[in-house]
Amino acid sequence: MPCEVTYEELSEFALGDCEPGRAAELAAHVASCRECAARLAGLERADVVLDSFPRAAPSAAGMLQTRRAISQSIDDRRPPGEHEIMSLEEVARYLRISEEDLQAIADQLPSFEIAGRIRVRRARLVEWIEQRELLQMRERMRGELTRAAREDDGKGVA
């Protein structure tokens, strides 16, 4: 006697996706039909294999390229003044001074020329600011020491 139950129906039954009435019919059928019982067991084996089926993972080179592309894309959309390479206009805005004032100290800036334009690397600019801070701090300290020494001398004379 040929069995009318399809694999698709057994799959629905296995995942609990058929109508409750049909589920009861199929449960009774599988209990008496050896072939359907075997097919149901086959579906369960497929589930086990699929459940632990290896997920394909990207190559290291692909990962690196994607991370770089993302990073680049995020950089490109930064507001002006936040780019890694800055124009003098952006440097002036970053330093909160006028472009004229910047022109006056332009020869001290860690800049480079490309295609006839002056550009500044943000990282070098930050280093340059730190050096300036240090230098000015030392000058202030030296100034204070000199003043203190002078005062001491004055006392000594008096």
Partner: protein
């Protein structure tokens, strides 16, 4: 909110997207780490070639980064990223099909299914079954294949698959059961079990 939207770390994908949109770059790294394997694996089953799946992965995450500013928090990040991956894959597949048709008429390119693992000796069983499943998966029609990959390998619930693939849940179920039936038939034939049933 599904489990995927509220994982152990406490920050949902929507939280991370909001953080990224307000300038926190590290938030995007977390999003990438969380989803890139799923995106790649799903793409790999559709476009098949590793290099192309990697390109799709890159395109998808660049699009996610670009869309962060206008992203609407609805707890559906994963469905959204799957649907973007799908569009990227089908754009490529359609372009390739169009190219092939103009070049060679109606020639169908048979791509290699999976590398059949050759396991010597008595332990053939497990490897044979896995490679049979791989071959069966690769031979499925695209819509059945993507539903089976998302359901069985990526463990996505029906609702989320239906949302991502923009089809009714009933269609997801129909496609899934057809796919499972095809895979089970392949396993049965590999194991030498005669299927005498009406198909």
């Amino acid at each position: 909110m599904s489990d995927a939207d509220r994982p152990t770390g406490g920050l949902s994908d929507d939280d991370l997207m909001a953080m990224f949109a307000s300038g926190d770059r590290d938030a995007f790294d977390v999003i990438f780490d969380r989803h890139h394997v799923m995106v790649y694996n799903y793409a790999r089953h559709l476009v098949r070639r590793a290099a192309e799946a990697e390109e799709v992965m890159q395109d998808v995450f660049l699009a996610v980064a670009r869309a962060a500013a206008v992203y609407v928090r609805r707890g559906r990040f994963r469905a959204w990223i799957v649907s973007m991956t799908r569009n990227a894959c089908f754009n490529r597949l359609n372009a390739e099909r169009a190219r092939r048709e103009t070049q060679t008429g109606s020639a169908i390119l048979m791509l290699p299914a999976t590398d059949r693992a050759t396991v010597p000796g008595e332990d053939l069983e497990a490897g044979e079954t896995e490679s049979a499943v791989g071959a069966a998966l690769a031979a499925l029609p695209e819509r059945q294949r993507e539903v089976l990959v998302l359901y069985a390998i990526e463990h996505m619930p029906y609702r989320e698959i239906a949302e991502a693939l923009e089809m009714p849940i009933g269609t997801v179920k129909t496609l899934l059961h057809r796919a499972r039936a095809a895979v089970a038939r392949t396993i049965a034939s590999v194991r030498g079990e005669e299927d005498r049933h009406a198909v």
